[in-house]
C-alpha cells in the first residue's frame, strides 16, 4: 500500500506511466459505490484528528478497515510542510486495519495535493472506508467536496469560526455539521444552534433540512455513533436518490480541470478550446479512467503548445 502511494506521488515520467496504469486499472475495476469516502474539514485545532481517533475506536470493533489521508498546508515560501496529524489518531497505531498517510497540500492554497486524489482512489480499493482530513480555510472546501461522498465540517465552539464560515458563503458544501468539544458546555450548544438556524434557513444549495448538526466530544468519545449514523444516512440518501454517481462524476470533472489548469495554466486550457469546451469533453468522455483522461488531455495540450511556439 505505501509503495502504491509513493508511486502515485512520483513525477518521474517512467513512474508516472506505471502509476497511470495502476490507477486506471483500479478505477475501472472498482465496484460502484465502493468504499465510502468521507472528508473532515474545519479550522486548525477544531479536533478533526481527535474525531478520527474516536471514529477509529467506534468503527474498528465492528470490523471495518479504515484509511485516513491527512492533508496539512505547505509553506508558500519554502514548499516545506510539517505533518503532525497521525499521532492524534493513535488508536490505530499498531492495528493493520488502520492506515494513515500524511500529505502536504503542496502548491495549492490550503487545498489538496493532486496526489490526494490518487491516494483516495488507491485506498478506496483496499479499505472499507476512507477519510480525508484537511484544514478548512474557506477555499479548500470545494476541493475536498469534489473528492469525497460526504463532507463533514467540524466547528469549534465559541471561536466564531462557524460564523465566519457561514459568512464566507460556503455553507453549501458540507453534508454534515459537527460541533466538537461539546464538553465545553454552553458555548457548544450555542454554536450548534447558530449553525442549525442558518442551515435550515436554506442558505445551502442542496436540500437544507437534511444536513445534520451534531454535537460531539471527540476526546470523551461522545456523539460519535450519531456522527457515523449521519454520515451513513447522507450517503444512503445519495445512493437511493441515484445522486452519488453524479456527485463522483462532478468531482472527477473538478479534479481533472483543476489539475490541467495547475499544470498548464489558463493559456494551456485555451489550447483545447477553453474551460467550457474542456469541461464538456471531460463530462462526456467515459471511455477511460479519469487518470488516463488527464494524461491524454495533458498530452494534447503539450502538443498544441508545441505547435503554437
Amino acid at each position: 500500500m505505501p509503495e502504491a502511494l509513493n508511486l502515485a506521488d512520483d513525477r518521474r515520467a517512467d513512474r508516472r506511466k506505471e502509476a497511470l496504469e495502476l490507477l486506471d486499472t483500479l478505477e475501472r475495476e472498482m465496484p460502484f459505490p465502493g468504499a465510502p469516502r468521507i472528508g473532515l474539514t474545519g479550522a486548525p485545532g477544531a479536533g478533526k484528528s481527535t474525531l478520527l481517533d474516536a471514529l477509529v475506536r467506534e468503527l474498528r470493533p465492528k470490523g471495518e478497515t479504515l484509511a485516513i489521508v491527512a492533508v496539512d498546508p505547505s509553506s508558500r515560501t519554502t514548499g516545506g510542510a510539517l505533518l503532525g496529524d497521525r499521532v492524534r489518531v493513535r488508536s490505530g497505531a499498531s492495528d493493520p486495519g488502520v492506515f494513515i498517510r500524511s500529505m502536504a497540500a503542496r502548491d495549492q492554497l490550503g487545498g489538496l495535493a493532486e496526489s490526494a486524489w490518487a491516494a483516495v482512489a488507491i485506498l478506496a480499493a483496499a479499505f472499507d472506508r476512507v477519510f480525508v482530513e484537511t484544514v478548512g480555510v474557506g477555499q479548500s472546501e470545494s476541493d475536498v467536496a469534489a473528492l469525497v461522498d460526504t463532507l463533514v465540517y467540524v466547528a469549534t465552539p465559541g471561536t466564531g469560526d462557524a460564523l465566519q464560515f457561514m459568512k464566507a458563503g460556503i455553507l453549501e458544501y458540507p453534508d454534515v455539521f459537527v460541533v466538537n468539544k461539546a464538553d465545553l458546555g454552553a458555548a457548544a450548544t450555542r454554536t450548534a444552534s447558530e449553525l442549525r438556524s442558518s442551515v435550515s434557513l436554506g442558505d445551502r444549495g442542496t436540500s437544507p433540512s437534511e444536513a445534520a448538526v451534531i454535537l460531539t466530544s471527540a476526546s470523551a468519545g461522545e456523539g460519535i455513533d450519531e456522527l457515523v449514523s449521519a454520515m451513513d444516512a447522507h450517503r444512503q440518501r445519495l445512493i437511493d436518490g441515484d445522486a452519488l454517481r453524479e456527485r463522483r462524476w462532478r468531482g472527477r470533472e473538478i479534479q481533472l480541470l483543476g489539475a490541467l489548469e495547475r499544470r498548464y495554466g489558463a493559456f494551456g486550457i485555451e489550447r483545447l478550446g477553453g474551460r467550457r469546451a474542456l469541461r464538456e469533453r471531460v463530462r462526456k468522455d467515459d471511455s477511460v479512467s479519469a487518470f488516463a483522461l488527464l494524461a491524454r488531455l495533458g498530452l494534447e495540450i503539450e502538443e498544441a503548445l508545441g505547435k503554437s511556439r
Binding site: D9, P44, G45, T77, T78, R86, A93, S219
Partner: protein, 662 residues
C-alpha cells in the same frame, strides 16, 4: 582573607545536588557522601520509567532503568533510598510530577514504617504538571485530571504535612525549552493561578486555609547567562506574586505572600565544545539568584561542567557544590543588605518585565487559563518560536557562544580524559532492579494489594483525595506501575501538542536558501518532494532538538512528519513505512540510544526497510556513535553540531548517497 569580626551574615541558601542513579542502594550511598561534603538538602532524580508510571520490568522501561535517576517501584525501594537518613531532619526535594502523589505516599509510608512522624517531614514534591506538557515531558494524564491531582496533594499536605511544599511551580524548564524571561514569568504565574483556583474551587478546602496554602506554594526558577536581567526577572516575579496573592486570593499576611523559590541554573547554554568554560557560566548564573538579597533563592542546585557530555560523576558534582560554598562562605555576599535597592537600571528593567509579563499572563487567563492554553497549544507554540529564534541567532552569530560560534580555536581540554569524563551507569543495574522487583512482588500479600488497588480506584471514581488511599497502597506493596495503571484506566492518557506547526522560520541566510534549492532539486531525482520522519523513541522527553530539526527541515523545503515525544520503536518504523519517507531521523538525549536506535533499525529491517537511511542526534558519546554507525546509522549529530542548516545540507547528502540513481 577573613570576614570582619562583627559582620552579620545571612544564613546561606540550601545547597542541593540533583542526583540519583542505578538503584536505591547506590543512590543512598551517593546521598550520604554528598551530605558529608557539606550538601544541606537532598534532591532526588528518578529514572524515566518511575517518572512516567512504569515498573522497571515494563517493556517501555527497557534501557531506561536506573539511567537518569533512581528507579523506585515500591516501598522497599523507597526505604532503601533513605536508609539511615533521618527523615524528620532531612529536607528532601523530589522531582516528580505526574505521579507525585504516589512517590509522596511512598515517602510518607517509609516515614511511618521507620518510626518518623509524617507531620515533621520537610521537603518538596515538584508536582507541576503544566510545565510537563510544555517542556519536561513526563506527563501521563490529561490536564484537567492532572490539576485535580496537584490539588489533592496541596489539600492533603496543608494539615497532614504542614511543612511540605506540595507543589513547586516551575519556570526552570520553560527557559530550558527556550522561554524568554517574560514567558517564564507569565506562564509560571499562570500555572500558580490555575493550581490555586483548582484548590479554591474544590469542596474540601475551607476558605480560611487559603492564605496558608498560598504560603506553601513555592517556585523553581532558572538563571541564565544574562544574569543582570535574571536579577530583575526574579524581582519582577516576586513583586507580581505579591500583587496576585493579595488581589486575587486576599492574603493579608505579607509573610504568606513571600515569593519563595529554588533554582537550578541554566543548562541549555552549557556547551559540549570547550566544556571547561561551563564552570564560568555556572558561577555567573549563580550570581543572578544570590546577589540580590531581596530576590535570593532558598535553595540552589548547579549543573556540572560536563553537562552537555553526559551524566556527572561524583567529582563533577562536588566541583559545583564547591562553587556554592565559596560563594556563600568565602565571599562577602551574605553580609550586605540588598545591593540593588535604589538602582535605577534594575528598577526600570524590573518594571518593564512586569509590564510585559502581565500582558502575556492576561492573554493566557483570557484564553481560559493554563489548561486551555495547553490544549490549544498556545504556550507551547510561543516556546518553540522563542527556541527557534535562539537557534537562529546562534547560527548566524547574533548571540555569541564562546567556543561554539566564536573563539573556537582552542587547546584540547585535559578534563576530557579520552572520553571517559562522564558517569557510566552499570549495565547490570536494570537486571538487578528487575530481580528485586520480581522478588518483592512474589512476597507481598495478594489480598492486601488487591483491596488497596480497589480502594484507590473507588476513592478516585468518587472524586476523593488520592493521598490517603495511595499511602495505604504503598504499605500494602502496590507498585509504581500498578498505581499508575489505576489512574490511566480512570483518566486516560494524554499527548501534548508539539507546538511546531505555527513556527514559520522565514527567509534565512544564504546557506539556508542554497540548501532549499538543493532540496528542491533533489525532489526531481526522487520524483517527489523529500519527505523525512523525525522520531523520538522511548521515554525521553527532551524535545528541543527534534523540534528545531523539524522546523528547520520544513524551512528548507522538506515535508516533515513529526509526532512528538515518547513513541515506541515499532510505531516509528511503521510510520516510516506508511508515510513513505526518504529518511528517518531519531533524537535521543536520555542516554538510552544504544538500545532504542538498534531497536528501530531492527523494526525497519523487519518491514523490509533495511535500506532506509537513519540518522541520529542527541547526547551520544563518541564511542557509542561509532557503534551506532557500525550498526547501520548513517550520521550521528551531537550538541556541537549547532548549525542546523549544515545538518540539513548533510541530510540531503545522505539521501543522495543512498537513493538509487534515476
Amino acid at each position: 582573607m577573613t570576614a570582619p569580626e562583627n559582620a552579620r551574615r545571612d544564613r546561606p541558601w540550601m545547597f542541593r545536588t540533583y542526583s540519583g542513579h542505578s538503584s536505591a542502594r547506590a543512590s543512598n550511598e551517593l546521598y550520604r557522601t554528598n551530605l558529608s561534603k557539606g550538601q544541606t538538602g537532598l534532591s532526588v532524580a528518578f529514572d524515566l520509567p518511575t517518572q512516567t508510571g512504569y515498573d522497571s520490568d515494563h517493556p517501555l522501561a527497557r534501557g531506561e532503568v536506573g539511567k537518569v535517576g533512581v528507579p523506585i517501584s515500591h516501598i522497599d525501594d523507597m526505604t532503601a533510598l533513605f536508609k539511615e537518613l533521618p527523615l524528620e531532619k532531612m529536607n528532601t526535594s523530589m522531582t516528580i510530577n505526574a505521579n507525585a502523589a504516589w512517590l509522596l505516599a511512598l515517602y510518607v509510608a517509609t516515614a511511618e514504617r521507620t518510626g518518623a512522624d509524617p507531620k515533621k517531614l520537610q521537603g518538596t514534591t515538584q508536582n507541576d504538571i503544566v510545565k510537563e506538557y510544555l517542556s519536561r515531558g513526563t506527563y501521563i494524564f490529561p490536564p484537567e485530571a492532572s490539576l485535580k491531582l496537584i490539588g489533592d496533594i496541596v489539600a492533603y499536605t496543608v494539615d497532614s504535612i504542614p511543612r511540605w511544599n506540595p507543589t513547586n511551580i516551575c519556570s526552570y524548564h520553560l527557559q530550558e525549552a527556550g522561554a524568554t524571561p517574560v514567558q517564564e514569568i507569565a506562564y509560571a504565574l499562570a500555572t500558580a493561578i490555575s493550581v490555586l483556583d483548582q484548590v479554591r474551587s474544590r469542596g474540601d478546602v475551607p476558605e480560611a486555609a487559603i492564605p496558608r496554602i498560598v504560603g506553601r506554594i513555592s517556585f523553581f526558577l532558572n538563571s541564565g547567562i544574562r544574569f543582570v536581567e535574571e536579577i530583575c526577572k526574579v524581582r519582577a516575579m516576586a513583586e507580581l506574586w505579591d500583587e496576585i496573592t493579595l488581589e486575587r486570593y486576599g492574603v493579608q499576611d505579607a509573610k504568606l505572600r513571600r515569593f519563595r523559590y529554588g533554582v537550578q541554573v541554566n543548562s541549555l547554554g552549557l556547551t559540549e565544545a570547550q566544556p571547561e568554560n561551563n564552570v564560568i557560566r555556572i558561577v555567573l548564573e549563580a550570581l543572578g539568584v544570590t546577589l540580590s538579597k531581596k530576590a535570593r533563592c532558598r535553595a540552589l542546585q548547579l549543573p556540572a561542567w560536563n553537562e552537555a557530555l553526559g551524566l556527572p560523576r561524583p567529582w563533577d558534582q562536588q566541583w559545583s557544590l564547591r562553587i556554592q560554598q565559596i560563594l556563600a562562605f568565602e565571599s562577602d555576599l551574605l553580609e550586605h543588605e540588598d545591593i540593588f535597592d535604589g538602582s535605577r537600571v534594575v528598577e526600570e528593567k524590573t518594571e518593564e518585565l512586569k509590564r510585559e509579563a502581565r500582558r502575556e499572563l492576561d492573554v493566557v487567563l483570557e484564553m481560559g487559563g493554563t489548561v486551555a492554553a495547553i490544549e490549544n497549544a498556545y504556550m507551547k507554540q510561543r516556546l518553540v518560536e522563542s527556541q527557534t529564534a535562539r537557534a537562529r541567532a546562534i547560527e548566524n552569530g547574533d548571540i555569541t557562544v564562546v567556543g561554539v560560534n566564536a573563539y573556537t580555536n582552542a587547546e584540547p581540554s585535559p578534563l576530557m580524559d579520552g572520553g571517559q569524563s562522564i558517569l557510566k551507569v552499570d549495565e547490570s543495574a536494570e537486571r538487578e532492579q528487575i530481580e528485586r522487583l520480581v522478588e518483592f512482588r512474589s512476597k507481598r500479600n495478594r489480598a492486601d494489594v488487591e483491596s488497596a488497588v480497589q480502594n484507590l480506584e473507588d476513592v478516585l471514581r468518587n472524586g476523593g483525595n488520592v493521598m490517603p488511599a495511595s499511602i495505604r497502597a504503598a504499605h500494602a506493596g502496590v507498585t509504581t506501575g500498578e498505581w499508575a495503571d489505576v489512574l490511566r484506566g480512570l483518566y486516560g492518557e494524554f499527548r501534548a501538542p508539539t507546538g511546531v506547526v505555527a513556527t514559520e522560520g522565514t527567509g534565512g541566510s544564504q546557506a539556508t536558501t542554497d540548501t532549499r534549492d538543493r532540496v528542491h532539486r533533489l525532489a526531481d531525482t526522487l520524483g517527489r518532494p523529500l519527505k523525512i520522519l523525525v522520531g523520538k523513541p522511548g521515554l525521553d522527553g527532551h524535545s528541543n532538538g527534534a523540534e528545531q530539526i523539524a522546523v528547520k527541515a520544513r524551512d528548507v523545503g522538506m515535508e516533515v512528519v513529526y509526532d512528538g515525544i515518547r513513541l515506541e520503536p515499532g510505531e516509528i518504523a511503521a510510520s516510516a513505512r506508511d508515510e513513505g519517507v526518504h529518511l528517518v531521523g531519531l533524537s535521543i538525549l536520555s542516554g538510552s540510544h544504544s538500545v532504542l536506535v538498534i531497536d528501530v533499525l531492527d523494526r525497519l529491517r523487519e518491514l523490509g526497510l533495511g535500506n532506509l537511511p537513519v540518522v541520529v542526534g542527541g547526547i551520544i558519546p563518541e564511542e557509542d556513535a561509532d557503534k551506532l554507525c557500525q550498526a547501520g546509522v548513517r550520521r550521528v549529530y551531537t550538541p556541537k553540531d549547532f548549525d542546523l542548516t549544515r545538518i540539513m545540507s548533510d541530510i540531503v547528502d545522505v539521501v543522495e548517497e543512498t537513493s538509487p540513481a534515476p
